[in-house]
Symmetry: C2
Subunit: 247 residues, 2 copies
């Protein structure tokens, strides 16, 4: 009899090609699958809630897998973390769940944080953890314009060419921009996102922050339903998957 486990995982995306296993480099999924195999001898598929891109971080990615080995959640967490020591990946929570739980399909919400370091001086402590933007950004202006994107829209203008979603129509529940000292935080919440959607929205909001775009221009970009109408993609290093919600 197998037991399904739900795990909550923190990682530094820097050294990885992303969440998903790929032939061209180490992935978070592979690191986790190898840790599971090392402790159990089994080779389950570790299913993530979402595929973070290369360089994208997670405070609380969620995944699930099935084990035949009988093991308590606490012991499983300790063993996973022991076998993950070579990687900047840490399993912060392990829960035994019913086999109806699916990390991806049961998820009802996802939250991301995008961190911008907005000061003249480059980051010393947060190198690789923020997007460094040395030109002054107006966070209030960004916050006001961001509300244009909140709601039920066709987000084709903010969708990567490789996006595999069936539809470009999504409901964006929250897009908040706040400044604290030199740091600007963008918080995005939705049931699900298109590929690169958060980074593409942030790339356009940055144009608003530096005064090159108005909120009306951002609205026009959304309505164009054309990737070339919107701003560039913000770098991966500022993005964090912070929460996956289940009912």
């Amino acid at each position: 009899m197998t037991q399904r486990f739900k795990i909550t995982v923190e990682y530094d995306g820097g050294p990885f090609v992303g969440w998903q296993r790929q032939p061209n480099g180490p992935s978070v999924q592979q690191a986790l699958e190898e840790a599971v195999t090392a402790l159990s001898g089994e080779e389950p598929f570790v299913q993530g809630a979402g595929r973070t891109d290369s360089g994208v971080h997670a405070l609380a990615q969620v995944a699930h897998f099935d084990l035949e080995k009988e093991i308590a959640s606490d012991a499983l967490q300790g063993a996973l973390n022991h076998h993950l020591k070579a990687w900047p990946v840490s399993v912060v929570l392990v829960e035994a769940v019913s086999e109806e739980f699916h990390a991806r399909f049961s998820a009802t919400g996802r939250a991301y944080l995008y961190r911008i370091l907005n000061r003249r001086a480059q980051p010393a402590l947060d190198e690789g953890r923020v997007w460094w933007v040395p030109i002054k950004l107006d966070a209030e202006r960004m916050q006001e314009a961001a509300q244009v994107l909140v709601g039920h829209h066709d987000f084709s203008s903010f969708r990567a060419a490789e996006c595999q979603a069936n539809s470009p129509v999504k409901t964006l529940d929250r897009l908040d921009v706040t400044r604290q000292g030199d740091e600007i935080a963008v918080i995005a919440e939705a049931r699900s996102f298109l590929h690169h959607q958060v980074r593409n929205m942030v790339g356009s909001l940055k144009l608003v922050g530096q005064g090159r775009w108005s909120a009306a221009r951002l609205k026009k970009a959304l309505e164009a339903r054309d990737r070339t109408a919107a701003g560039p993609t913000a770098p991966a290093e500022g993005l964090y998957l912070t929460r996956v919600t289940y009912d």
Copy 2:
């Protein structure tokens, strides 16, 4: 004619032997002095407000130096940061000051933050930036006991053997312990500190947090005026110099 400059510096202490130049490895002071020389051809001594130990970080260390080269503060900041790119050191502010300003002797206060990650799972994103303590600590108990140390005391029990201060008597203005989620922050403020004082106080507070020591036991350690009566030294990687105050 020379001009004195006050600089505010952020750094990751990880790759350094500490603030001060030493023959056994790279120091923050050396990185800064070499950057000054690269941009000016001059070889001034860069005087820091305090000497952080190997591995200790700074959000806002303060230093000063004199230059004969005529250069505006903004241009100096840009040039310093350009020449510091090889190091996790960033000059966040440059101010032209009178020659009466002295980074060390004019300072009237110093503030430190000590970060403890208190959860079972090792840090993934904050590796090298926090002290990971997997056993549960009671932050409220730590906060209560910490108040024993606040005030004017002989801190010999929390002083490193190599400390060069004239007197072990200091006034600790603030020692606050707070928990936010899995992280415990200890904030310490004083006019000045003894060598290792913050790390030694944190090492003892950790014993209080895990229930091994009472506040009374901590008071006894203070009153013993003997380093061996107090707890072990907390690791450098959790410590940040966060502020130096001038009148």
